[in-house]
């Protein structure tokens, strides 16, 4: 177990800059997730940490040792790959012990270690099989076993669950979380799946175009996104973005909303809106903050009830998503399935702006920080 410091790491291929100065510090035992759309540089950063690619500039420290120019095998890192990368000619047991063998661990010790890891991952019955004889989920377990066997200082997971079917992915997700709780290892985990990021991470680094957009706990990132990109990337269904005019009502800046009737929504930090009175900004509101009228919320300071016209409904079982159009933008609302909402009908909905955020329309930067 060790901490990891990434200091101003840059990576250029010719003139294209893939990493534009990454700074991340990961505490020992922390589970950090790198998330972002494809091409954002997260895999390049991962390979740089592993030493499989050289960085152009900056430093990488593992357990306070500068490993920027250390070869991969001397960094004491294990990695789980998306394709699992199991050695096809070796049995499961040989796969798991290969790293130990390369490090000249005596045979008896290797056997004990293989058994320990196999028991932990419940793959003892597979030890004599070849990778080709395993199912996707079993290969995934073996790949994890191979990483665990060496007890390295740092684990890297490169989209390890992407090749599994939906059900297995959820199962393995829970398993990885349990494993991390049990072993308390330092993990850097790359994914493009924001649900994986939310559920697993101690902290998330959201990346885009070779830059860290925001680094924080899942809840911070969900509630308090640094910019429009982060707000739109995290959360499913995505946050609603509505262009609104800032108006003055009783000298307090409010957000004008034209649903069926024009209403002014109050904002928790009105002072941050003062500079934008008379202008149009983007209001960010999560679907679960627009619900059917809930009696217990009635009368709370940032709750506004108004009428909307239902365009389409999408029942999801636990909730029903109601799609409507506000200020020209399509928005998602999350309502109780029991609440009657026919397509084309006009219904009452409750807008809770206590957790609303606002962005600059052009730059996408948060305005109410």
């Amino acid at each position: 177990m060790a901490n990891l410091v990434i200091e101003n790491v840059k990576k250029r291929y010719g003139t294209t800059e893939v990493l534009k100065g990454i700074n991340i510090t990961i505490e020992a035992g922390e589970f950090l997730i790198l998330v972002g759309p494809s091409g954002c540089g997260k895999s390049t950063l991962m390979n740089s940490i592993a030493g499989l690619e050289d960085v152009t500039e900056g430093r990488i420290l593992i357990a306070d040792n500068d490993v920027t120019y250390t070869s991969p095998k001397d960094r004491d890192i294990a990695m789980v790959f998306q394709s699992y990368a199991l050695y096809p000619n070796m049995t499961v047991a040989q796969n798991i012990s290969f790293g130990l063998e390369m490090r000249k661990v005596p045979k008896e010790e290797r056997e004990t270690e293989v058994q320990r890891v196999a028991d932990m991952l419940q793959i003892s019955h597979l030890l004599n099989r070849k990778p080709a004889q395993l199912s996707g989920g079993q290969r995934q377990r073996v790949a994890m076993g191979r990483a665990l066997a060496r007890r390295p200082q740092l684990y890297l997971f490169d989209e390890p669950l992407s090749n599994l079917d939906a059900k297995l992915r959820v199962e393995m997700r829970t398993e990885i979380k349990k494993l991390h709780k049990k072993l308390g290892t330092t993990i850097v985990y790359v994914t493009h799946d924001q649900i994986e990021a939310m559920t697993l991470a101690d902290r998330i680094a959201v990346m885009k175009d070779g830059e860290v957009q925001q680094l924080g706990t899942p809840q911070e990132i969900y509630d308090n996104p640094a910019n429009l990109f982060v707000a739109g990337f995290m959360g499913s269904p995505a946050m609603n973005f509505v262009p609104v005019n800032v108006i003055l009502k009783d000298d307090i800046p409010m957000l004008e909303l034209a649903t069926n009737s024009a209403v002014a929504l109050p904002f928790p930090k009105p002072e941050s809106l003062t500079a934008h009175v008379g202008k149009t900004i983007l209001l960010g509101l999560r679907p679960e903050m627009i619900t059917e009228p809930q009696p217990h919320k009635e009368g709370q300071p940032f709750v506004t009830t108004t009428e909307i016209e239902v365009e389409v409904t999408e029942p999801m079982g636990a909730d029903t998503m109601i799609l409507t159009r506000v200020n020209g933008a399509e928005i998602n609302c999350r309502s109780n399935p029991a609440y009657p909402a026919e397509s084309g009908s006009i219904i009452k909905m409750m807008f809770d702006t206590s957790k609303a955020v606002v962005f600059d329309e052009k730059s996408g930067e948060r305005l109410d920080k």
Binding site: P72, S83, Y87, N89
Partner: protein
């Protein structure tokens, strides 16, 4: 056959077509086999019988003395030891040439596919050009090179020529095969602590059997059947069997001994035939081998 195809009725037309198909296949096979059959028949006749001009008729009585003469008595140029010494020469050239060119091709392919470096694609493209260089073009420069290296007219010189010339092909074979191996396999092994050759030997080579067989067959056939390099770069006592065969056929005292010529030609062709018979099924399998799934 029809007993096994339950629920599927073969109409009369189907049967006719199938019959026609087999007929065509048999005719084509016979056409291809004909020269070999004639060679075999001729080698078993005596010279007198051959003169009568009954090319396709079976020998009236079997004569094996043409075979023993071809093996150890026929004259090739000035020496009369048959072609057996040259057969040995050929093996001495072919075996090291095949082993070395296959091994180097494997390492080249491994580097080009899995350890890409700046300009590795250009390097590969340049190497590919080597597949298209005609033999004749390199004769003179190679003769100079061999002389300069001091291995002109030696077995080692011929091995050297064949290794160089074969490298482009063997590299191409291995490179294409290794393209299907996921790069992550090498990354995983590097993190596990394995080095360049350990990864090659422990992980890459064990999955390479199909392409090794393909390359060995290809190289064996190419080198064994080579005549031009053999005739240009061999010394008097290092001539490969193809050159000896040519000399044998062209050397005659009195009448032409077609039976001996035929026996010698069959002996010279046997090793390549044997390689195809024993490894042929791997050849097809190797050519069509798909991705190595991990």
């Amino acid at each position: 056959m029809s007993n096994h195809t339950v629920g599927r009725k073969t109409s009369g037309l189907d049967k006719v077509l199938r019959f026609a198909l087999y007929a065509v296949l048999i005719i084509v096979a016979a056409f291809y086999l004909m020269p070999f059959v004639v060679m075999l028949i001729t080698s078993l006749k005596d010279v007198e019988e051959i003169r009568t001009g009954t090319l396709l008729s079976l020998p009236t009585s079997l004569h094996f003395d043409s075979w023993s003469k071809a093996w150890s008595g026929a004259c090739t140029g000035s020496s009369c030891e048959g072609i057996s010494p040259y057969l040995m020469n050929s093996f001495q050239i072919v075996i090291p040439a095949v082993v070395i060119s296959t091994l180097l091709g494997a390492i080249n392919g491994y580097v080009i596919s899995l350890w890409k470096f700046r300009g590795s694609d250009i390097f590969f493209a340049a190497l590919l050009v080597g597949c298209f260089i005609p033999f004749q073009v390199i004769l003179l420069p190679m003769a100079r090179t061999l002389g300069w290296l001091g291995i002109a007219n030696t077995t080692m010189g011929l091995v050297f020529v064949h290794v160089i010339y074969g490298l482009a092909f063997t590299t191409l074979f291995f490179r294409n095969f290794y393209q299907s191996i996921p790069n992550e396999l090498v990354k995983a092994a590097r993190l596990d602590g394995a080095g360049f050759f350990t990864i090659f030997y422990r992980i890459i080579l064990p999955v390479s059997t199909p392409i090794i067989v393909v390359t060995v067959i290809w190289q064996f056939t190419q080198v064994w059947n080579d005549f031009l390099f053999g005739v240009a770069f061999s010394g008097f006592d290092t001539q490969p069997v193809t050159v000896a065969l040519n000399n044998l056929v062209n050397t005659s005292f009195g009448g032409k001994e077609y039976n001996v010529d035929m026996a010698a030609a069959i002996i010279a062709a046997l090793p390549t035939l044997a390689v195809y018979v024993f490894a042929g099924k791997y050849f097809v399998r190797g050519l069509t081998a798909g991705a190595v799934k991990g």
